[in-house]
């Protein structure tokens, strides 16, 4: 049984906004990415998972409990990073984290200290004067410090510089190794591709596709780009029996789809041609999802 089971969720905000018949299941220990453009309905779904919004229909079960009715009980197992960072009144980051720990019933702050150090955060700074990145880091510490088994994160890397983003991905990988289940939304494909096991694409409130990133990485259908030394060579090659994705006569270039089983034939054919360069075009999640738009 999946740890998080989202079944036929509809939350209609009219004018095409909201969630429409969304179903997803997330297994224990899985890192699940949730991608979509701004306004696609990512935050709406996360708020329903947190029990802040009540679905119009459908239900969400987390660990067998209903996300709306048993919201408080479920929170014992969840760490949450909200999409919008607005802290309660507290003078410093340290004080905020201390009060949050108090609410969570947490006495051991060693894990919080560990994450703080990892993110190179100085939590003693004035909470209100913190930069966007510092606030985001503080929010990350608050979500992780209880060492909860489930982490729900709404665009957790906003405001982080590339270096910190890498550090954050590092932390996620550590957590993953500990067997935690993570659900994170993002509008950046590379980010989820690097960290997630499975990625769902949401568009206009509907789930368009769910794809395992492993499948993307080990894709056997590869695309190669070739440029020939002359127009004659180019024209001769287009006569070969390959699956051409694109032909660019002006540049003497072709893009050709080659399945891994064809690679030998492809190479032997190429021996008879004068080519300027050959390069493999990496298959990415973005490319995959682009086909759905």
């Amino acid at each position: 049984m999946p740890l998080i089971e989202i079944s036929n969720i509809t939350k209609d905000y009219k004018e095409g906004r909201g969630n429409f018949d969304v179903s997803l299941s997330i297994e224990k220990g899985e890192v699940f990415g949730f991608v979509g453009t701004n306004g696609a309905g990512k935050t709406t779904l996360i708020r329903q998972m947190m029990g802040f919004l009540k679905p119009d229909s459908g239900n969400i079960k987390i660990g067998g409990l209903d996300a709306w009715n048993d919201a408080a009980e479920i929170k014992k197992r969840i760490g949450y990073i909200p999409g919008e960072i607005a802290f309660p009144d507290a003078p410093t980051g340290t004080e905020f984290l201390r009060r949050q720990a108090e609410l969570l019933g947490l006495t051991d702050m060693s894990y919080a200290d560990y994450i703080t150090k990892k993110l190179q955060l100085d939590p003693t700074a004035n909470l209100k004067r913190m930069s966007k990145g510092m606030k985001q880091k503080t929010a990350i510490v608050a979500a992780f410090m209880a060492d909860s088994e489930i982490l729900i994160m709404d665009e957790p890397t906003t405001g982080l510089d590339p270096l910190m983003r890498a550090e954050f991905v590092d932390i996620l990988n550590d957590e993953k190794k500990k067997g935690k289940t993570m659900f994170m939304s993002s509008h950046m494909f590379e980010e989820v591709e690097d960290t997630c096991d499975k990625v769902a694409l949401i568009k206009d409130g509907k789930i368009i596709a769910v794809k395992s990133t492993l499948e993307i990485k080990h894709n056997q259908d590869k695309v190669y780009k070739l440029e020939f030394a002359s127009v004659d060579e180019y024209l001769r090659f287009t006569g070969e029996s390959f699956d051409f994705a694109e032909q660019r006569e002006a540049q003497n270039q072709v893009l050709v789809n080659i399945h891994d089983t064809e690679i030998d034939r492809f190479l032997s054919v190429l021996k008879g041609y004068k080519i300027k360069f050959i390069t493999e075009i990496k298959y990415s999640l973005e490319k995959y999802f682009k086909t759905f738009y």
Binding site: M50, F52, L53, K54, A72, E102, L103, A142
Partner: protein, 481 residues
């Protein structure tokens, strides 16, 4: 029911606002109490009475102002106290819920394993506690100020004259205060007492007699088991009950039979027809006018300071002649004019002394401070704010945006306040009072003898309903966090 942790955290972020408002309010009420001076207020009242325009505008409020509590009820508990508490309640109610949802910081409270209902219940609890603590502090500061500025709140208080007289008599103050005849029967004591009060001996004697009479009526009323007011209105009640008569007579130090005779006379006098009383009044005013002419002051001014007539023999003669209080047919034919003048003068003096003694008695009442009424006043103010905070809290729970929460959560209480003020300004706007919740807390009904418990109950019930409603709405609504 409540989360101690959240309560503590809410307290930590909100205590400053509470301290500021509570300090200002406590200081204001203490100031009103400290500067209260019955003599000054009485002077002001007399002045206002002479200006018909202002007197009309003040209306009923004038009557309430002649005692410390009445004054406090009209000023602090009618205006400053209410408006300041109102602002505090509006700001706090919005901060506790709507503003946190609006900003998004509520997400941090709700991403913990604390139930949504518990969170919002704790916030309501803070609001109620803070308002209660506010009026508790104001009450304590107020009582302390009364004790410091006017004394006599804790333990018996003796008026200045009793203190002076008991020194002269070399008697215990308690004993003297209990039996004022002790002063009356000792010339030196009367002299000392009058001096202490700063009035003339004859006025003081009248004052003592009036006080004794009131006490006698009270004693009788107790025996009869009825209200002292009822006895004062119908003196035959005492006369027709032997035990009541005995009790009253004992206070005055008289034989019941002698007192009975005096009573009979008083009853006969008071049964004078209305016409006769009016005639007397007119005669007296004519006397005052005549005296005013001699003294070259306004008749109105003189009416409030009749002591001046006594100080000026010429004025007294002119006044008593003009008034001619003793009806001519009372004198046998051929009574010398000198005797008539003498008798008239004596009668006029008696009336003046009576008036002056009355002034002294109302001064005594001015500083008369009922702790119970004061506590009720504060309870009423608290209940009003409890209900109004309920309104603000409800809208704070209903709306996700601060601006919407404030529109109704502040708009409605402020409108109530304005409607109440409008209803007091003129009789044409009086019906506005039915549009205002503030009408349910009317300090006048507490310091006067009005009914207020039903209104209190309505405020309390209304408050509970509003909070419950707010909590229920918050529990069920969608939160954009």
């Amino acid at each position: 029911m409540f989360s101690k942790t959240i309560f503590k955290q809410t307290l930590r972020s909100n205590w400053k606002l509470w301290v500021v408002f509570t300090a200002i309010m406590a200081a204001m009420s203490a100031l009103v109490i400290a500067v209260y001076d019955p003599k000054m207020i009485q002077g002001m009242m007399d002045m206002v009475k002479d200006m018909p325009g202002i007197a009309d505008m003040m209306g009923d409020r004038m009557d309430g102002m002649t005692s410390l509590l009445g004054m406090l009820g009209q000023s602090f508990y009618g205006m400053q106290g209410v408006i300041l508490a109102l602002i505090f309640v509006i700001m706090t109610a919005n901060t506790l819920v709507a503003s946190q949802v609006d900003r998004g910081s509520m997400a941090y409270l709700l991403s913990t394993p604390i139930k949504r209902t518990k969170v919002v219940r704790t916030q309501a609890m803070y609001l109620i506690t803070s308002v209660f603590a506010m009026f508790l502090v104001i009450t304590i500061v107020g009582l302390s100020t009364v004790q410091l500025a006017h004394h006599g709140l804790w333990g018996p208080d003796y008026s200045k004259d009793v203190k002076a007289a008991s020194d002269v008599l070399n008697l215990d103050r308690d004993a003297v205060a209990d039996d004022l005849t002790l002063i009356l029967n000792n010339e030196a004591a009367v002299k000392a007492g009058a001096e202490a009060r700063g009035i003339q001996e004859d006025v003081y004697t009248v004052y003592l007699n009036q006080k004794l009479q009131t006490k006698a009526y009270e004693a009788a009323a107790e025996v009869l088991g009825i209200d002292a007011d009822a006895v004062t209105k119908d003196l035959s009640l005492i006369k027709n009950n032997e035990r009541a008569l005995t009790a009253a007579a004992k206070v005055l130090g008289l034989e019941p039979a002698v007192y009975g005779a005096t009573l009979e006379q008083t009853i006969a006098q008071s049964s004078l027809s209305g016409n006769a009383a009016q005639e007397m009044q007119a005669k007296f005013m004519a006397g005052i006018t005549a005296a005013a002419e001699v003294l070259n002051v306004g008749a109105g001014d003189l009416a409030t300071s009749m002591g001046k007539i006594k100080d000026n023999p010429k004025a007294l003669t002119a006044a008593s002649e003009a008034a001619a209080l003793v009806p001519a047919q009372m004198f046998p034919e051929g009574t010398p004019a000198g005797v008539i003048a003498e008798q008239n003068e004596a009668a006029f003096l008696a009336v003046i002394n009576g008036q002056l003694a009355n002034d002294e008695i109302s001064l005594d009442k001015g500083v008369d401070f009922s702790v119970k009424d004061y506590l009720l006043l504060n309870l009423g103010a608290f209940l009003l704010m409890f209900a109004i905070a309920g309104i603000s809290f409800l809208f704070s729970c209903v709306f996700n945006l601060s601006k919407n929460s404030l529109m109704l959560g502040a708009g409605i209480p402020v409108a109530f306040f304005i409607f109440q003020i409008m209803s007091q300004v003129g009789s044409s706007l009086e019906n506005f009072k039915y549009l205002s919740l503030n009408t349910l807390f009317d300090p006048g009904t507490i310091t006067g003898n009005g009914t207020f418990w039903p209104q209190f109950a309505i405020l309390a019930v209304l408050g509970v309903v509003l909070y419950t409603l707010g909590i229920t709405v918050f529990k069920k609504k969608d939160l954009p966090l």
